[in-house]
């Protein structure tokens, strides 16, 4: 094992984004001919790592070596391609309006001249036959007419087919998300047949069984750190999960005095429902009482936001009886939250304009008074609320969104990862605000991607594939429980 040559080496690699530290002194080697599994929770740094290897991002500091050569600032997508590094990304990268063979042409422009369709068609079909026998795809099929699973098969085969330079490293990022059980197994068998050959594979997946079945080694990332490397032969689900999150209770003794005093049963048993399932029994459904903070967790994109959006449309909910109106705090404030050309005051008061009307016009004095009140209570850092919203930092913009929603009289506040990209100090202030408001009887449904935030929740629902898998009581849940239920 030790005699193996490293194809790619990462030495003390750091990557910073504006609000986060995505990779933290990461050290990692990928050996020739091995399949390396990478696992970790959302935001552990997996995607950042892939983007650095494929030349989409440049690392903030540290060294990346490919075949012993150190990569410099000029490393980009083309260079990665020339070195034989390929990736299959989570979002598909095919042109839907082109045929399979035309997509190959986009990818291999060097294969030209007379009869290119025949040659490229043969290339993709040979690879498809090798990985997915009986795939049933023709080279002339238009991609948009293929099912999602078949598109994914084409995408994978595209990455494994070569024209000129030999492939060195293929990175598969959640390759089986659109594949059914049968084709997933075919892919795993194919990867296993590659072991010991000159090509290396990085296999990233949330499905631990697949990682265990297809890899030689497994790297566990947490918060951008390499927290452990396991030989697959010696690994198990249990051990991986232990590495991914420590078995500490979410609510530690002495941490969060506010929360510890709460006892789920005696506090909320008699409180009236804000969200109540219409039909009881069957699948697990959420229920929310007055004054309760309910957390939604699980892997990102497994239906949490979808649920929030359907709750927001409270009048038409088919599954729940909801006491509305609901108000919504989005996580992507640039896209869904702020009105960028408006002042802070207008951004705060936009939900309550009906209350500010005098005759038909809006009373600007009252509008400013509301904004000034919130400026004082949650310390929005500005000298005047008449300034443009963009004069505020990201964290303060998020405070404005909280102020907007909390100014309304809605009994139900829905939050879609509301502290995304907010600094630690501001986060603590927002947490305090949420707890205060819940004491006044407002109910919160809080989708969060951060384990730490779950400690503020009275109840936690874990999502997977659009369904609720588990309901955990806030004070009993541990990070390990949450991870166990989400994988």
């Amino acid at each position: 094992m030790d005699t193996k040559r490293s194809i790619v080496e990462l030495i003390d690699v750091n990557k910073y984004f504006i609000h986060s530290h995505a990779l933290d002194n990461l050290n990692l080697s990928i050996y020739e001919g091995e399949t390396l599994g990478i696992v970790g929770h959302n935001g552990a740094g997996k995607s950042t790592l892939v983007n650095i290897l494929t030349g989409t991002y440049l690392q903030s500091s540290g060294t990346v070596r490919v075949d012993g050569k150190t990569l410099d600032g000029s490393y980009d997508v083309h260079a990665a391609n020339a070195l034989g590094i390929r990736a299959v990304f989570q979002e598909l990268s095919l042109c839907p309006n082109l045929s399979v063979v035309e997509n190959m042409r986009v990818f291999h422009p060097a294969v030209g001249g007379f009869g290119w369709q025949k040659r490229l068609g043969a290339m993709i079909l040979t690879t498809l036959d090798r990985i997915f026998p009986d795939h049933g795809i023709r080279a002339s099929d238009s991609v948009e007419n293929l099912s999602l699973g078949k598109r994914q098969m084409v995408e994978i085969a595209k990455a494994f087919s070569t024209s000129e330079q030999p492939l060195k490293l293929v990175i598969l990022d959640e390759p089986t998300s659109a594949l059914d059980h049968h084709t997933s197994q075919q892919l795993i068998d194919y990867i296993n047949s590659l072991h010991g050959k000159s090509m290396s594979v990085i296999y990233i997946s949330h499905l631990l069984d697949e990682v265990l079945a297809s890899t030689n080694r497994i790297v566990v990332l947490r918060d951008g750190l390499n927290v452990g490397v396991l030989k697959t032969a010696e690994a198990s689900r249990q051990r991986i999960i232990e590495f991914m999150g420590e078995a500490k209770p979410l609510k530690e003794e002495g941490n969060g005095s506010h929360a510890n005093a709460r006892r789920k049963d005696d506090r909320f048993k008699d409180a009236p429902f804000v969200i109540e399932p219409i039909v009881d029994g069957g699948e697990l459904q959420i229920r929310v009482h007055e004054g309760e903070i309910v957390g939604l967790t699980g892997l990102a994109g497994h239906g949490q936001t979808q649920l929030l959006l359907s709750l927001f449309d409270y009048r038409h909910s088919r599954d729940y009886r909801i006491r509305g109106p609901a108000t919504f705090i989005p996580g992507d404030r640039q896209a869904d939250g702020i009105f960028p050309v408006w002042s802070i005051a207008k951004n705060v008061s936009v939900q309550v304009y009906a209350r500010l009307k005098r005759l038909l016009l809006i009373d600007q004095k009252r509008e400013n008074a509301i904004a000034d009140k919130w400026k004082a209570t949650i310390d929005i850092k500005t000298d005047s609320v008449k300034r443009g919203i963009l004069s505020l930092s990201g964290g303060n913009q998020q405070k404005v969104l909280f102020a907007r929603c909390l100014e309304s009289a809605s009994p139900l506040v829905l939050m879609d990862d509301p502290t995304r990209g907010v600094d630690v100090g501001t986060k603590d202030e927002l947490y305090k605000l949420i707890l205060e408001e819940s004491r006044k009887g407002r109910a919160f449904v809080w989708y969060t991607t951060e384990m730490d935030e779950l400690k503020y929740c009275d109840r936690i629902y874990v999502f997977k594939s659009g369904k609720i898998l588990a309901e955990l009581a806030g004070e009993e849940a541990t990070e390990e429980d949450v991870l166990k239920s989400s994988f």
Binding site: S93, P96, N103
Partner: protein, 318 residues
């Protein structure tokens, strides 16, 4: 067979059903009203004006294939008639230099659209004023002296099949080959379908957009030359409705604003239909004052129909 269902299935021949049907809807009444149009000379007269319009439409098609649009097409075509009819007859070299300059400007526009993330609608509407301003400066009132070479070129007497028909067929086939058989065409359609995939595969989008817009400019110039040859005059406002007609032609031919969905044969058929609409309205003795409105109504109808033919959009995945 239900033509809408056929379009939905996306087979290349079936995609042409809608453009063929809409052309027949216009052509059949014309043939009934004036049976002579189906003879050699009749077809020549009927489809003469389709030559410049189909060139402009194919140009517009390339712009729309990459998800952009050229709202200055009609103004450009008018300007070219002025350059060919006035400047070229005095100084051939200067005329040629001006035409080359137009292509360079178009390529720069294409590159800037990508590099500066500009909207082609705004930029080309701005350019439309530049083109018309230039044209009015060159030729304030209609007139000029179009070279005999151009006049002869568009009125060739070809054996058996009238020249316009021959020209349209050749243009459609050439356009189809470029779009579906060349590397360039595949990348053009790829950009329209998924620009990120094309750029991830290592192609320069700025260069591609510059090349596509250079081609749009070139086709606009060819359109202007053909139009000058047919009308034998230079006129700064002769083709202002080509902007609307070329967009309508592309959509009538099964293309879409969304980009990527494109057919050269359909675009040529669409250009013919838009030409024939004018003729039919004249034969029906509808005054020219109403014709532009009638053309607009037909365009709306087409948009409505092609909207019906599209499959419903996918829900956003959250």
């Amino acid at each position: 067979m239900n033509p809408l269902a056929a379009v939905r299935r996306g087979n290349s021949l079936q995609v042409l059903l809608l453009p063929i049907l809409s052309m027949l809807v216009i052509l059949v009444p014309i043939a009934v009203l004036r049976p002579l149009v189906l003879k050699y000379v009749g077809l020549q007269l009927l489809l003469n004006m389709a030559i410049p319009l189909s060139l402009a439409t194919i140009g517009q098609m390339f712009a729309m294939a990459i998800g952009e649009i050229d709202f200055s097409m009609g103004n450009l075509v008018s300007l070219v008639t002025c350059i060919v009819g006035t400047v070229m007859s005095r100084s051939f070299g200067l005329g040629l230099a001006l035409l080359a300059g137009i292509i360079v400007v178009y390529m720069l526009i294409g590159a800037f659209l990508n590099l500066r993330k500009l909207s082609s609608i705004v930029v080309t509407i701005g350019m439309s004023f530049v083109w018309t301003g230039l044209a009015v400066t060159i030729q304030p009132t209609p007139g000029g002296n179009v070279p005999a070479l151009l006049q002869n070129a568009v009125s060739l007497a070809t054996p058996l099949v009238p020249f316009p028909v021959l020209f349209l067929v050749v243009l459609a086939v050439l356009g189809h080959l470029v779009l579906f058989r060349t590397n360039f065409g595949i990348l053009v359609r790829g950009i329209g379908g998924n620009i990120k995939a094309v750029s991830l595969a290592g192609h320069s989008i700025a260069w591609m957009e510059a090349a596509v817009f250079g081609l749009v400019g070139l086709l606009g110039i060819l359109s202007g030359m053909a139009l000058a040859g047919i009308t034998t005059s230079a006129d700064a406002n002769v083709a202002t409705n080509y902007t609307l007609l070329s967009v309508a032609g592309v959509m009538l031919g099964g293309g879409s604003f969304a980009g990527g969905k494109i057919s050269a044969v359909g675009a040529v058929l669409g250009a013919c239909t838009m030409t024939l609409v004018g003729t039919l309205l004249t034969f029906l003795q509808i005054s020219p004052d109403w014709q532009i409105g009638a053309q607009g109504t037909i365009l709306l109808l087409v948009l409505f129909l092609s909207g019906l033919a599209k499959s419903p959009g996918k829900a956003r995945y959250v």
